[in-house]
Every structure is written in structure tokens, then in C-alpha cells.
Amino acid sequence: MNVIRQTLDRVSIPIIAILLGLAASSFFVALAGANPIDAYQRLFCEGFGPKGCATFGDLIFVQAEQEDGSFQTVFSPTYGAGGNRLALVLEQATPLILTALSAAVAFQVGMFSIGMDGQFVLGGIVAAFLGYWIPDQIYLAAGVTDPETASESLRTIMHLVVPLLCIGASMLVGAIYSWIPGILKIRLNVNELISTIIFNAIAVQLVGYLVNFPLRSDMNNIARTRRIDDTAWLIPFNRGIFADIEWFSGARLGIGLIIALLAAGLVWFFLWRTTAGYEQRMTRGSSLFARFGGIPSARAALRAMLISGALSGLAGALYILGVERRVVDGFATSGTGFEGVLVAILSKESIIGILLVAPFFAGLNLGAINFQFGNLPRQLGGIIIAFIILFSSMEDFIRLQLAKLTNRGRARRRDKTPGEAAV
């Protein structure tokens, strides 16, 4: 009973925040001359709904057209014909989960690093480059001129090794790029928020340069790198093991999600079940107190920054190796890393919270990009997210207001009771 009440207590604020956020944003929708309820229906259907979704109800049960032309009510999340949009949501949520974990690890040590964006794009470009460069070198060494003719065993071995190498390199690059603001903070007390924002900008410019100049593969209108070799590709479910399940057919969802869930479990274990994680959480409380307690707080903070950077680099690598397979100009400015920070803030750095909030954000973004409603632009998604963040951080204020409301009700009842007794 107590557990239920606790969970309810913890979940209530984010849910209130989401509802308030939607309510506040509906003001802007109305200002733009659209009906908020219709707009939200459209937004959520495009984000989470099945094919033919038109109302909120369709998010749960939808009338699906069968092959013989009749309609049948089906449970939307499992309805797979033509690919379910939730698979797409999970595909987009994978990098969000990892960057949010990255942010959570950094926040848990008290470092307000938001450098996930820079680490993410650098991880991505490293994976994209190594994804064709390493196989090239291997083919060269093995004397294979045409990759198609390479022996099956060589390709199998490569398929096991190359992605691991790419991911490892991306994680390393991310970790190094996160270590720099960390060491600047610890040794020189440079504000990590400002330094990571500037580092993000530098990484974005650098990746933009790399895509446009040295790594540009063809004279395509939009600059892009060469496609990674097939042996470096993390084959998505719809092309690999679950090729017959239609649920997956529309999305490039793949092993990345499993790795992300695994990473979430490991991060939870690290933070709450190991000495190093304990040191980290203590350092956040008060780094001076932790130091007097014999905890090497500087080392804990640096370790957290390294882990955080590696997670963001991993996110970038998985996104390139599993989803995009090449870096296209504009990848750097997509802001996925920053979304991860917002996910971590809204979920109050709890791991389960991240796993729930990341798909929500991914679906909201997906819906905002796809929905065509009047002339509402996709920035509506950003406005909603900003309001949700704002309201969720008003936790104390909302609790106070709720308490006041209930207290007033109680007081009124108390006032009434003696009066009635007198009568």
C-alpha cells in the first residue's frame, strides 16, 4: 500500500506537469487560430497512433480495416499492419535514452554538464568515418578488390569486430570530449554549463566542416559522407531477425535499443549498487563533505564525466551504425543531445523515468514534425516541451498549492462541523 502511494506521489508531478504544459501551449495554438483539442489529437496521432488514427481514443483501440474490407476493433499499440508507429518512436527514443543517461550520470555527481550534444555528434562522425575506413583497410590487407567477392568467413568475422571497434572509438572520443570540461571544472573551477555549451558549438562547427569538406563523398546537393560498409552495419530488426513481423516494418529499430536498455541497467547498477556510484552521489550532496568523509570527490566527478561522455558517444555511434548509416549535413544541428538533457531533467534523473520519458519526447517530436495542422509549425513540440520542463521544476510550488487546496477543504469541513453540531 505504501509502495503504491509512493509511486503515485512520484508519478503525479510529471503527469500534472505534462497536463499543465499541454494546457499552457494550447494558448499558443489558439492564438494561431486553431482548435487546441483537434491540434493535439492530430499531434498525438502522428506521434504515437496507429494508421488511420483520428481521435484520442484511437490511440488505444482503433477500427482496423481487414483484408476482406470489414472493420474490426484492435488494440492499437500491438496493431502491426504496415508497421506500427511505436517502433519508429522507439527508434528515435534510443539515442534519447542514452544521452539522457549520460546527462543523469553527470548530474548525479553535481556536474551540470550539458555537453551531450557535442559528444553525440562527434561520436556519430567517428563511427561514420571508421564504418567505411576500417573495412577498407581490412579489404586492402586481405587483398580483396571488390567487397562483394570477399569470403563469407571474413565478412562474418568483420561483422563481429568492426561495429565494436567503431563503437569503442566513438565512446572514447565522447569520453575525451567530456573529460575536458570536467578537468577544467575540477582544476580551474570553470563553470561547466558555459564551457559545455561552447564545446557543443565547437563540435557542431567541426562536424559541419568534416561533412562538407574532407569526408564529403559525392556531389549530392546536401553534403554527406560515404555510406558505411555493410559489415559495420547494425542490421535493424525489420531487415534481420524480425523481418516477418510487420510491427517492425516501418522503422529502423534495431539492436541499439537493446544496448540502450542494457546501458540503463548498468547505469542503475553503477549508481545505486557500487562504491563508485555511492561516492558519486555523495559528491553531489556536498563535495566538501564527501572529501572529509574520505571520498575522492574530484576523482568521482571526473569518472562521472568520462562515463557520461562515453554514453553520449555510444548514442551517436548507434544512431549512425544502426539508423542513418552515414552522416548527412544537418545531423550536427539536430540537437538530439540537448533533448537528452531535457529528458534527464524531466525524469529527475531516475532511470525508470528516463525509459518512460524518452519515448514520450521522441513521439512528441515525431508528431510535431509530421503533423500538418493549419499552419502550425513543428516548433509547437519545442514549446510544449519547454512548458513541461518549466512546470515539472515547479514541483515544490505545485505541492504547496495542492496542500493548500486540501487544507482549505479540510479547514472548511472542520469549521462546518461544530456549527452543525450547535444547530
Partner: protein
């Protein structure tokens, strides 16, 4: 290292000063005039932005929403002028008011509802970045860029007397009104901070909140005023970006200048007048990046040149941190040496009270 600093500190400082003066002479006479003019022009958002950061952090609140306040200023300035044909100065005024309003809202959310400052700043910046593009589309039907002949940029003003002087005239004259206002604001903010009652209150609140409360200063009110002022300055800086340089609004046109402004204020140790000169330097780095881009014969990649101001910013952050750190280390070291000397004297039998202890040898002053 520390003893070296101690012994040669003065010489080192003189050396740095000479290098600085030589660099300044090179910048003033070795670089082309139009580069210098554009760096002075491009320094304006940093001048105003860093003043905004200074006034807020002097009041004890790190204003991390300057980026959003600048952006709303840029947007409002253009939105007011669009199809109305009003004087551009009205646009600047509207931007200033809008920035001030956002500053007040920010202050109230932070001080009354007590939202975490960093999260609040991130949310405000995110909101403004999205809302400007949202209204660009819904109110003006524009996709990412709002340009129209009815939006006029600020006219340049020739200063009456100064423009007659040969070199200085072209260096200091021929900018638009906001540039001159920003120079005046440096003096005004300096005066407000250090010569008025309100400024004393701001500094008192920033230095020690509890003490300020105990002498009867209304801390919350002072902070709200400071953040409003900060927002107004940032809004004006934003209006310069949209109608001072160009005459259009582009989505996310502040491009990190708000964050750089915070760095400028840190670099200048939250002093208005040093902040002005630091801003000039940042303006130069930005102008240089544009200047080099405009010369294709140099074969420099544009993306990397765009990163030049950011790299300068990181270097500035590190430099100022090293300076602070070195100061701390130096003080600590000097204290330790002095302490050891005293201790040795005690051990050698110069007991206190026996004879008045001689003043310890003063190590080279380390401030």
C-alpha cells in the same frame, strides 16, 4: 613555478603589458580600417550582453537566460517594424521593453516560485527559440527568415566634431544609434553600480545576501529590478542583431552570443569598463572570422572560421580561471612561507613576549 612567479611577478606583468600594447598597436594600425570598424560594430551585442550579465551577477543571480532575452529582442524589433513603417528606434525600444518583461518574468519565476535557476534558464531559452519561429510562421507566414522592405535598419550617425579628426573620426564615427547607446550604457551601468544607492544595494545583495537582509534591504525587490534591467540590456542587444546589422530576423540568430556575453563578463571580473574592452576583442575575433571568409583566395573552410569566436571564448574561460587559480595558489603559498618563517623563529628561541618579534620579511606582494 610559484617562487618564479613571486620573484619575477612584476617583470612578468610589465612584459605582458608591453606585449598587450604592441598587439593593440598592431590591431589599430596593421589591420584594415573596415575590419576595425566591423569589429567595433560586432562588439555591440557583447557590450550590452556582458553588461546584462554583470548587473545580474552583481545582484547574486547568474542570468543564464541572456540568450533567450537577446533572441526575443531580435524578434520583437522586427515584428514591430514589419509593415508598420515605424522608425527603427521604436523597434529598439520595443525590444528593450520585451527583454525587460522577460527579465521580470524570469525573476519572479526564480525568486517567488523558486525554480532551479539552470533548469529555468534552459526552459526559457528553449521556449523563446521555439516560440519565435512559431510566431514567425503563424503571424507572418515566414519560414525561418523574416525580411521585408518595410523593415528598415538603423541609420548610421556621423558624430559632428569627431568625424573631422583624420584617423579617429573614421574609427569612432559612422555607426548606428545602438552602438553609441551601448557605449553610453557602459558608463551609465558603471555609475549605477558604483555611484548610486541602488547600485550599492545590488552589490550588497550579491556579496552577502544575509547581511543585506539584516540591514533592511529588500533583497527580492533588488534582484527583480536587477534582472529586469539585465533583460532590457539583453533585449537591446538582440535588436541590434536584427535591425542594426541586417534588417531581418533569422531563426536562432543570436547563435550563442548570449552565452559568450556571460563569458565576457566573467573574463572582465564583472567590471563594466573592462567588459567593454573584452567585448571589443570578441568583436574583433568575430569580424576576423567574417573577414577571412570573404577572402576565398585564402582557402579557409568557413565552418572552422565560424568556430573561431567560440575557440576564443574557451581560451578566455580557461585564461580567467587560471588567473583566479594562480592568485589563490600564490596567496596560499605566501601564507605558508610566512607561517614557516614565523615557526622557525619560534623554534630558534625567539619566544613571543621575550622581545617584540621582528616583522617577517615581506615576500614580493602577490596581489
Amino acid at each position: 613555478m610559484i617562487s618564479f612567479l613571486n620573484r619575477y611577478g612584476r617583470q612578468l606583468r610589465i612584459l605582458l603589458l608591453i606585449v598587450g600594447i604592441l598587439l593593440l598597436l598592431f590591431i589599430l594600425f596593421g589591420l584594415p580600417m573596415n575590419l576595425l570598424q566591423s569589429s567595433i560594430r560586432l562588439a555591440t551585442p557583447y557590450v550590452l550582453g556582458s553588461l546584462a550579465a554583470i548587473i545580474a551577477s552583481r545582484a547574486g543571480v547568474l542570468n543564464l537566460a541572456i540568450e533567450g532575452m537577446m533572441l526575443i529582442g531580435s524578434f520583437i524589433a522586427v515584428a514591430v517594424l514589419y509593415k508598420t513603417g515605424l522608425d527603427p528606434l521604436i523597434g529598439v525600444l520595443a525590444a528593450t521593453i520585451a527583454g525587460g518583461l522577460l527579465g521580470t518574468i524570469f525573476a519572479v519565476l526564480y525568486l517567488r516560485i523558486k525554480i532551479n535557476l539552470i533548469i529555468l534558464a534552459l526552459a526559457v531559452n528553449l521556449f523563446i527559440a521555439n516560440a519565435t519561429v512559431f510566431f514567425l510562421r503563424t503571424s507572418f507566414g515566414a519560414f525561418g527568415t523574416l525580411a521585408d522592405p518595410s523593415i528598415r535598419s538603423l541609420p548610421t550617425i556621423q558624430l559632428p566634431l569627431i568625424s573631422q579628426i583624420p584617423y579617429v573620426g573614421s574609427l569612432l564615427g559612422g555607426y548606428n544609434a545602438v552602438v553609441y547607446i551601448s557605449w553610453i550604457m557602459v558608463i551609465v551601468i558603471w555609475g549605477v553600480l558604483f555611484r548610486t544607492q541602488f547600485g550599492r544595494h545590488i552589490r550588497a545583495v550579491g556579496e552577502n545576501r544575509e547581511a543585506a537582509v539584516s540591514v533592511g534591504i529588500n533583497v527580492t525587490r533588488v534582484q527583480i529590478f536587477a534582472l529586469t534591467l539585465s533583460g532590457m540590456l539583453a533585449g537591446m542587444a538582440g535588436s541590434f542583431l536584427s535591425i542594426g546589422v541586417l534588417s531581418q530576423f533569422v531563426a536562432d540568430m543570436t547563435a550563442g552570443r548570449g552565452w559568450t556575453s556571460i563569458t565576457v563578463s566573467l573574463f572582465a571580473f564583472e567590471q563594466p569598463i573592462p567588459a567593454f574592452f573584452t567585448s571589443l576583442f570578441f568583436g574583433l575575433s568575430e569580424a576576423l572570422s567574417f573577414y577571412l571568409q570573404s577572402r576565398p583566395e585564402l582557402q579557409l573552410p568557413p565552418d572552422l572560421l565560424l568556430a573561431l569566436p567560440q575557440i576564443v571564448t574557451v581560451l578566455a574561460l580557461v585564461l580567467v580561471a587560471i588567473r583566479i587559480r594562480a592568485g589563490v595558489l600564490l596567496r596560499r603559498h605566501n601564507f605558508a612561507t610566512q607561517f614557516t618563517q614565523e615557526l622557525q623563529k619560534l623554534r630558534q628561541g625567539q619566544l613571543i613576549g621575550d622581545a617584540p618579534p621582528k616583522a617577517p620579511e615581506q615576500p614580493a606582494s602577490a596581489d
